[in-house]
């Protein structure tokens, strides 16, 4: 392998990993607050691409408007899932909510097949994403430039919200001590709703950019990226936002490198991610940045 191929592949890995990071954050934020793995999260990622598909591809809205609306709709879906499926179980044993999450996920996937159709749809691509740029003699396509740039901007915005705003402080407070946060006059349900909305919006942005890269969408497309992003969250230390970002990058890079440099194993690239997941769950369930496991009272 030569250096420039390596760098090229590294950039591809970062670009893909950034998308995993966007999804992983939603898993990790919800887990941090509710100790719940929201299995339906990957399906929100999928729904967002359909929203964009219909708004832009069918109803011909301009891209900026279609994407904005799709992200908002996805946020609304995420919030509603919490409201309808998880909130009634807030005081129930944790396993009940977990089983419900699996159920919601199946519902969205199979409901998607019924309502949206199982056949993949071709996702439209804005002009700028297909444009070819020439950079230092090499040519590079728009998606490869803009997806990582947008991802970075979104991640920066997220960090700003979580670490520099009032609602962000409340989110961090809730995830350490829910009861005391209530004593501060915080309406916990609103913070939780906001967390679901924010996580879903990030997954939606990730989903739409995913569809720019791989312009075929289908109702089951959220499953694999969802699991990989979940792995990323575990690798980074579930509950830890920075961890989810780094975990996403690691998973993206590993996946791309396997395909690029061990091509005879590329058929197993997805299996590798699950090996990582299982290994971490067995040997280091708190991931790289997670706090020691502590049962919530």
């Amino acid at each position: 392998m030569d250096l420039s191929t390596f760098i090229q592949q590294l950039l591809n890995g970062i670009s893909l990993g950034g998308l995993y990071a966007l999804i992983a954050i939603g898993y990790t934020m919800v887990y941090g607050i509710l100790r719940l793995i929201n299995f339906a999260h990957g399906d929100v990622f999928m729904l967002a691409t359909y929203f964009a598909y219909y708004l832009v591809g069918i109803y011909m809205l301009p891209w900026w408007l279609g994407i904005t609306l799709a992200v908002l709709l996805a946020a609304l879906v995420g919030m509603s899932i919490d409201r309808v499926a998880y909130r009634p179980l807030r005081n129930a044993p944790r396993i009940s909510a977990l089983i419900t999450a699996v159920g919601v996920s199946f519902l969205l996937e199979n409901g998607g097949i019924v309502v949206l159709g199982a056949r993949p749809k071709g996702f439209p691509r804005p002009e700028i994403m297909g444009k070819v740029y020439t950079l230092a003699g090499a040519s590079i396509i728009g998606v490869s430039v803009w997806v990582p740039v947008l991802t970075l901007l979104i991640l920066a915005a997220l960090l700003f919200i979580v670490y520099r705003t009032k609602i962000g402080a409340a989110m961090r407070a809730v995830s350490t001590d829910m009861e005391t946060t209530r004593l501060m006059g915080v309406d916990i349900d609103r913070v939780i709703s906001f967390t679901f909305a924010l996580g879903s919006a990030l997954a939606a942005a990730g989903g739409i950019m995913w569809a720019f890269k791989f312009p075929q969408i289908n109702p089951l497309m959220g499953i694999l990226p969802g699991w990989k992003a979940f792995t990323a969250a575990v690798v980074g230390g579930i509950g830890n936002i920075i961890g989810a970002m780094l975990g996403g990058l690691v998973i993206g890079i590993v996946e791309i490198m396997i395909v690029a440099f061990l091509p005879w194993l590329s058929g197993y690239k997805d299996a590798f991610v699950f090996i990582i997941l299982i290994a971490f769950l067995l040997f280091k369930p708190t991931g790289f940045l997670g706090e020691p496991l502590k049962e919530k009272v």
Binding site: K166, A169, A170, R182, M184, G185
Partner: protein, 234 residues
Amino acid sequence: MLKLQDLHVYYGGIHALKGVSIDVPEGSIVTLIGANGAGKSTMLKTITGLVRPRKGTITLNDEEITGQPAHRIVSKGVAMVPEGRRIFRNLTVYENLMMGAYPRTDRNGIKEDLERVFSLFPRLKERRNQKGGTLSGGEQQMLAIGRGLMSSPSLLALDEPSLGLAPVLVQEVFQILKQIHEQGKTILLIEQNAKAALQLADRAYVMETGRITMQGTGRELLENELVRKAYLGE
């Protein structure tokens, strides 16, 4: 200002409060003492809306607030400094204090209160950008009290603020409570340190296994034979 009438609280099958009535007049310091497990924290949690009573009423300034959610009660002017400090260890000192002011929107008022807290606890100002979890036990208690003050409460309820502190710091905590009271806050204080608490109190109650068994002025209870035996170790 605050009145509890015949409060009954259950945790599943455990009858934790069995008809508690107390009265906290405006501008007073009221103290509640009692053995471990008597139900003192339960009473505070019921006042602040963390626990719902099965029976009885809580009245704040002539308005019944029984069973309202915690976040509403804070906005009505009741702040609690919980047992064990419970500061947010992953938030900075400044962020902890601002969490105390969460429901408020009056920027200038918040700023003034922040200055007031910093002048009460200069150590907190020095450490404002440090994570709460890195503070010493005493500093954490100061932070918990400061955080309680940040909601600009008319009633400050404290659950064993001197617990686990070195004697010098215990002194300091009581000194500070006195100052806070002089600045016009009504105080409801739960304490194991019965002597210091009763000396400070205008009114005091003794709780035993979910019931109020004695009440009087701080001085009356200090001089009471039973109290001296059971709580002052004499």
